[in-house]
Symmetry: C2
Subunit: 214 residues, 2 copies
DNA sequence: TGTACATCAGTGAACGCGCGTTCACTGATGTAC
DNA sequence: TGTACATCAGTGAACGCGCGTTCACTGATGTAC
């Protein structure tokens, strides 16, 4: 990929823009889908900066090197753009949990829980965005979307508790596990718990015998 | 208290304003301290409406029947006003936990945890505000402010675990307990868990044997 | 009791801000004949 | 190969919005003599 400058594109931030496009597509603008991806990539980058808690549509467009109105070719409005970012974030979180938990069993389940907390601390703004823009309404007898954090939890709990457990008990176990890691994440992010202390205790707080899954 | 109207006070909302002042003090404006209290009361009322997630200084002033600038006689800026509301909310939460947990022991501790979740669900906007504006940075070897949720938890955990437990273990136990109830609250508020399902399971998820306090 | 004065909690007008969104448009691309 | 035309992803100007905060002010209260 080559970095390019265009007359019809804001150049102010192009020099430091990670989402530059190649000459061919640049000459005639983005292919459809290209700008969509570029906007999402910029959004993810801005969320990493993390002080970008109040991420705006205009800022995403500006940083992508495109006018604010161009966004409306790809997303009906701001909330849909943010939802797309949230969905990407949720997938990433689910993936990291899966990676951490692949050893299986109670230890694998605990590891995936720790991964959840580490993800939150490493991506504070994205983590918050996920839960602001992704209502999933997991209820008893309802499965969470595949790959999501809720889905990982249900799978893990079912595995650890074994086939003898009732569906109700499994659901309660899942809520306990999810609540534990989600609460710990939020409390550290919201500075209720001193960050250094919290981080050093993650392994103790989230372990294979932290909660009663019965 | 009588409801009054004044030439030098916005009258638009006075008719439905709960925070009206008596004639004597109204004639010469609020006594110092009166308006402060009235602003806080209005803030609490607006937080109950709960769609008031983006509570503004101007709205609080407007609803109190006073100009926006009057607020600056009592609070240096908006964030101090919101912090005061958060502190009030935290005290209320701590009080409800104390009431629920006064039977003592493991059952009392569980009850105070359930009270935490019920408070969150009954006061969503206030609950969020508390954790947006009240960094308390509780660390190991640091006590939380008396009456706060963290303080209630430390006390409860210490009582349940008994004098034999080390301070470190107590702290881990406290983090588990707090994380459990905080996470459950947030997940329901953020619609990750279907509200009806979540509410019906609070007693099962938060019980005397939910977590390992060892 | 009357008068001069300091105090200070209020006032309304005004500021600059960045935001999400709408609008009519432009100009390059691809296609039909 | 050339020409006419539809498509459509971009553009910049403009909109109204409510916000937090600053400013110079007013007018009632309390106090000193």
């Amino acid at each position: 990929l080559l970095e390019v400058r265009l007359g019809n594109v804001y150049t102010g931030n192009m020099a430091t823009n990670d989402n530059s496009v190649n000459i061919e597509s640049a000459k005639r603008g983005y292919h459809h889908g290209d700008l969509r991806s570029a906007l999402l990539a910029t959004g993810m980058r801005l969320l990493e900066a993390s002080d970008a808690e109040h991420l705006s549509l205009r800022e995403i467009a500006r940083e992508t090197g495109v006018s604010a109105t161009a966004v409306y070719r790809h997303f009906p409005d701001k909330s849909v753009l943010l939802s797309a970012l949230a969905a990407e974030g949720m997938a990433k979180l689910g993936q990291e949990q899966a990676d951490a938990g692949k050893i299986g069993g109670a230890e694998g389940f605990a590891a995936s829980g720790r991964a959840y907390v580490h993800f939150a601390l490493a991506n504070p703004a994205l983590f918050r965005l996920i839960f602001s823009y992704m209502p999933s309404d997991v209820g008893i007898d309802h499965r969470a979307p595949e790959g999501s954090a809720g889905w990982m939890l249900q799978k893990g709990v079912a595995e650890v508790m074994g086939p003898a457990a009732t569906s109700d008990n499994q659901f309660v176990g899942m809520l306990r596990a999810w609540s534990l890691v989600h609460g710990l994440s939020m409390l550290i992010l919201d500075k209720q718990i001193d960050q250094a202390t919290g981080v050093s205790l993650i392994d103790h707080v989230v372990s294979a015998d932290s909660i009663n899954l019965g």
